[in-house]
Every structure is written in structure tokens, then in C-alpha cells.
Symmetry: C2
Subunit: 353 residues, 2 copies
DNA sequence: TTTTTTAGCGTGCGCGTGCACGCATTTGCA
DNA sequence: TGCAAATGCGTGCACGCGCACGCTAAAAAA
């Protein structure tokens, strides 16, 4: 019962402008070889008819393939970067009709050489675009210059180096996440002691990626509870028994500490201790919705998780990137900060993307 | 430098199965007129090659148009349903390449006749699918039966009638949202009095859409603070001066009440009172991230908002629906519960979709 | 046996666009 | 003046798919 579809095609534009499809095509793609007069008439016809290219036909005809290289840290199942990786690949999945694919280049985040090796591989493969995260400042700076030279667009995910050229960032504001975490930890007020549990790192290999978050955390405490002492406890993630004894040792010496926090994504490492030493008035918070953290939240070992849609963030990065590659659109925002979500026992369900 | 793209086409499938493109096509679309033997061979070839149709070519060839009728309440700018409407239209926008469009049918949510009128218009226009919300139980039940008869698929958004046929629901679990709201209101413990501010309704016109939410709210209070009194205060939204005097009157009589909540989406109506009567130890919570509520949160009049990605929820409904229409896929979940977000002064930024 | 029906299958056209090719006409240069 | 180069433009094919049409051979009806 519908009248014929009035959506204009190149053909209509050509007729309107009194030229051929080829000429319209040349005007649209700025390929030159058209008289000024024709250009003007075609432009006018396009505006008049409200023509815009049919994306399906476009993609079908221009059989181009886009590859997005993703340079991110290695991961084990369930870890933070496994979620990013999953989101990246899901993003590519949904764009496969547009011939967009992602290729992962994984490096060891404690070994700068492995980063350089993978970065070199990326350059060699000449991808259409690059998504990376910034663990090693100088190496990333060098790499970004090489990408600039090669004319390959790139975006940062989860972590960035400020002041680099033509960049995009997808992730949270780590300082604010720490600030919010401290707020949630101290909601009930009157806090004198806080235990910040940290993971021992191989010394000096690189900057701590959680620095800004910890800074936000400390600043909130400092601003709102100036008399509060923040105790730092170091644990070694590789030996669960060791974690337990370290914590037991600390809390035996400091029974007055009722507030616990971890600023990296592995607060679930505390579960064992919290299970063995239950307490009514203790508050424990952590970050990121890893499956194990969610379990700890569900079991009641921890009280609150500050997180964001990790997979969604990655998917969005791919989607925006393909907007740039496939549709030649310019990104609107440079810093795509993701919203910080608060998870507790009453809203932890349905937190899939 | 790439080898020829190994993405299989119908042609490859046909060759592999030893038949023609037409036969493959008939098998794919279950159009019959194919021998069992051929069907088997084609199916096998498809599986073997991992064939999946090129969406662009498909859409280009099958020049179909899908219209999704959206039957929702009228709204004024900034109100809850304006966000839903925006999300619906954005969803259609992003799917225009697939010839998906939405058409809005707005009814007066206090007038059952206007619902029936619009519902009749929908049936008349014979859309490809319908998205609606369930304000008037019986009218919706009748309408859904008519849609069933007409073979038009439909989904509920934001609000549903349980027990109806082949349905899908996009929205929150209102009971849980109320429960969570009560938890957040009483976080600091030791609550003896709570004021629940409600809006006066024209009597008996229809069921209160916020019933389940209020129930969840009351249940949490009852379970965790059995000695707590919940005072209900009715206000009339149309006269700001009236709101102010009603509240002043109530709180003069009950100065001990420090906890305020509103279970509908218009907690911002309290701003004026809260601005004129500041207090350190008062807690106010509300629901939904309307622009005015966000302002109240930013200004510090209210402390916490329980909400969800309203626009995103609508976009998702459109997206899933077009999955069903365009790609003939069966929806996976029947109840698409959206995650409940917690907003406070420290994470209210970046809460766009 | 002849005619009609039908199951099973292949082919051609069109969707709207990108791009290579080739033809006319004009311009530059000796 | 003559010939090459450049400019401006139109045409044909391909992309992968949906669908209408028509063909063959076997089954059913006459």
C-alpha cells in the first residue's frame, strides 16, 4: 500500500544534475576530473534531493577489508584484559558485515621488550587502525610517533598517555574511580583506620597502572577524614596461603582496622581471609566486575564494587573506530569516559552488557 | 598483500553441494521445492564452509521496509517518556540502513479511550511489529490478542502484563529497584522514620505504575527496620507553591523525619523545599535520571538516584526487535531486565549512554 | 497413449554503489 | 599545422543476494 520509495540514488542525482552516474561518483569522492560547472550542479542536486549513499550498496561494492590491531597485555581467563579482549572481538563480530576484523597482539606487561616486539609486528602488518593501552610510557610515545608517520590512526583503551597526537581514549577516569571508592568505603562515617591492600610488584619494571586510582582514593580520605590512618599491606598474589597469613598477621596487630580496600581488580584475593574471619561491622570494597569479584560480592565477603562496563567499553571502541574507518566520520569526543557503576548485593544481578 | 578473501558466498556453497545458487537459496529460506538429498548436501556445505549471508547484499537485494509501531504515553520535554522516545528514534536511526523505521503512537496515560483509539490506528497501519507499555491492563490484554490474531509480534517496554502470549519485556525489575532504593536510603543505619512522598492521582483511572516499586521499598524497610514508621505525604505536582507548603506543614509536625524518598520519577519536585530548608543529616533518594533530577543531585539537594539507562533500554528494544524482523532470529531472553544503576554526587558525570 | 500437473532445479535480472576503462574534446607544444 | 597529452565524461562490470521465471522429467490424470 506504500507509494514507491522516494529514497534518491546516484542515478536520480545524475538525472537531476544532467550528468552521468560516473560524474556524480567522482564529485562525491573528490576524485577530480570534473568541470567546475558539473561539480556545482551535482552538489546542488545532492542537496536538493537530500541524497545520501546507501550504506549497504556502498559496502557491498567497495570490497575493502579493515583490520584493527589491538595491542594489549596478555591475560589469563577471567582476568581484566580477558574481558577487554572479549569485548573487542564481539565488536568485530557485529561488524563483520562491514569487513571489519580485529587482530590481537598480546604482550607481557612486565616486559618492555615484548611490547616493542609486538609493536614492531603491528607496524609490519600495516593495519587500518590500532587500539592500544599505555603501560610503558616512553615505548608508547615512540610507537605512536611511528603510527603517525605511517598515517595509521590509533586510540587508547583503558589507559592513556596524555599529550599524544591525534588520539582517542576509551576508559574510565581512574582518579575519580578511586575517589568514589573511598566515598563508598566510608559512607557510614567516623573512620579512623583504613587498610589498603596492594600487590607486590617486580620492582621498577614500569609505572603502576593503578597510581591515579590510588591517588583519588587517598585524596578523598585526606579531604574527608584528615585524622584517618591508611595502612598499606603488601601481598603476593601467587601464593594464596601467603596472602592469608599476611592478612592474619596484619589484622592481629591492628584489630581496630574495619575498612578494607584494594585498588587493583583482584579484591577477590581477600575472600579466603574474609570467609575465615567474618565480622559484622567490617566494610570491604574493590574494583572491576571480574567473575571472581562478583562471586565474592554475592557471597557477602565484600560489600561493594566500583566498576564499569568493561566489555561494552571495548565494543564501543571498536564501533567508534569502524565509524572512522568505514564511514570516514570524525570522532566527536576525544576522551570517551565510561560511567562508573556501583555494585552491591542488591543490584549485582543483570550486570551483563 | 592479502590472499583472496576466503569468505564463502552462496556460490561457493552451491559448488560445494553440487547444486545451483537457486537451490541453496531455497534451502536457506525454507521455501521447499528441494529434494531431501539436496537439502542435506546444502546444509552440510553451509556448515563445512561456515557460510553466513552477507548482510549488506541481503538487505540490498530484498528491498523490504520494516515499521515498528511504538504505543507509549504522551510526554513533555524532559519527562521519562521523552527519553524512551528519544532512545526509540535513535535506535531506528542506527538501523535506517536496514530499512527499519519507528512510528510513534502517543496516548494520554490518564485516558483509556485515547489508548484504544491509538491501538486501533496501529492495527489499521499493519506495522511489522509493535512496542508498547502496559498502563491499562484490560485494554492491553485485548489489544495483545488482536495483535496475536494479526500475526504481528510485539514487545513490552518499561512495564508489562504478565501471562500474555508470545512476549518480550525490556525494562527494570521495579520491585528490586524499590528494594535497592530503601537500602541506599538507610545505609547509615538506625532509621526510625521515613517520609514517602507521593503524587496525588486522579482517582481510579488506572493502576498505579509505581506499585511494585513501592512494595519493594516497603518490604526492605519492614525486613531491616521493623520499628521504622513510613509516613506517606501526598503532593499535587501542578502547583509548586502547594508542594512547598504541604512539605513545610508535614515536617513542622514531624521534625524527627530525616529520610525522604519518592518512588516515581519526579523527586526533583522536592528541590525547592530542600533548598529552603537545608540540613546536614538528611538523606533523600529518588528514581530515574531525568535532567531535572540530575540537577538536583548535582546541587546536593538529593543524595542518591536509582536509575537505569533509559535511552539505551529503548535502543536495545529496537535493536532486538529488528533482529527478529530483519534477521528472523528468535530472541534469547523473554525478560530483558536492565541493570539498576546507583548515582550519587561522585559518579553522576558521564552518565550518558 | 496422450495430456496435464508437479516436484526439482537452474538462470537471469535487479538492488545501489565503486571503479576501471575508453571515448570525445580541448589544450599544450614543437 | 600536426600530434601528444590532458581534461571531462559516459559505460560496463562486479559485489552477494532475493526472487521470478521457465525448463526438464517424472508422476498423475485423462
Amino acid at each position: 500500500m506504500k507509494e514507491t520509495n522516494p529514497i534518491p540514488t546516484v542515478f536520480d542525482v545524475a538525472r537531476e544534475a544532467g550528468v552521468s552516474r560516473g560524474t556524480v561518483d567522482r564529485v562525491i569522492h573528490n576524485r577530480g576530473r570534473v568541470s567546475e560547472d558539473s561539480v556545482r550542479r551535482v552538489r546542488k542536486a545532492i542537496a536538493q534531493l537530500g541524497y545520501s549513499a546507501n550504506p549497504n550498496a556502498m559496502l557491498l561494492a567497495s570490497r575493502k577489508a579493515y583490520t584493527i590491531a589491538c595491542l594489549i597485555p596478555q591475560y589469563r581467563p577471567g582476568e581484566y584484559w580477558s574481558l577487554i579482549s572479549k569485548g573487542l572481538q564481539e565488536g568485530a563480530q557485529s561488524l563483520q558485515g562491514y569487513n571489519v576484523s580485529v587482530k590481537l597482539y598480546l604482550y607481557n606487561s612486565t616486559d618492555i621488550d615484548s611490547f616493542s616486539v609486538q609493536a614492531a609486528r603491528v607496524l609490519e602488518d600495516r593495519p587500518s587502525g590500532v587500539i592500544l593501552n599505555a603501560v610503558f610510557r616512553e615505548a608508547v610515545t615512540v610507537f605512536s610517533e611511528q603510527l603517525d608517520d605511517a598515517g595509521i590512526p590509533y586510540a587508547f583503551i583503558d589507559n592513556k598517555v596524555d599529550g599524544l597526537g591525534n588520539i582517542l581514549y576509551y576508559g574510565i577516569d581512574p582518579y575519580r574511580s578511586g575517589y568514589l571508592g573511598a566515598y563508598l568505603l566510608t559512607l557510614k562515617g567516623d573512620v579512623r583506620d583504613v587498610a589498603l591492600i596492594r600487590i607486590t610488584r617486580d620492582k621498577g619494571s614500569h609505572a603502576d597502572p593503578n597510581g591515579p586510582r590510588r591517588e583519588g582514593f587517598m585524596d578523598y580520605i585526606g579531604e574527608h577524614f584528615p585524622d584517618c590512618t591508611v595502612h598499606t599491606v603488601f601481598i603476593r598474589p601467587d601464593s594464596p596461603a601467603d596472602i592469608l597469613s599476611t592478612l592474619e598477621h596484619f589484622f592481629t596487630a591492628h584489630p581496630e582496622v574495619r575498612h578494607l580496600a584494594m585498588t587493583n581488580s583482584r579484591v577477590h584475593l581477600l575472600s579466603e581471609y574474609l570467609r575465615l574471619h567474618p565480622s559484622e561491622d567490617r566494610v570491604t570494597i574493590g574494583f572491576d566486575d571480574l567473575e571472581k569479584n562478583m562471586e565474592a560480592l554475592r557471597a557477602g565477603y565484600i560489600d561493594c564494587l566500583v566498576t564499569h562496563h568493561i566489555e561494552q567499553q571495548a565494543r564501543q571502541a571498536i564501533a567508534s573506530f569502524s565509524d572512522v574507518l568505514v564511514w570516514k566520520r570524525k570522532p566527536v569526543r576525544r576522551n570517551c569516559y565510561v560511567h562508573l557503576d556501583i555494585l552491591n548485593r542488591y543490584n549485582l544481578d543483570d550486570y551483563y552488557d
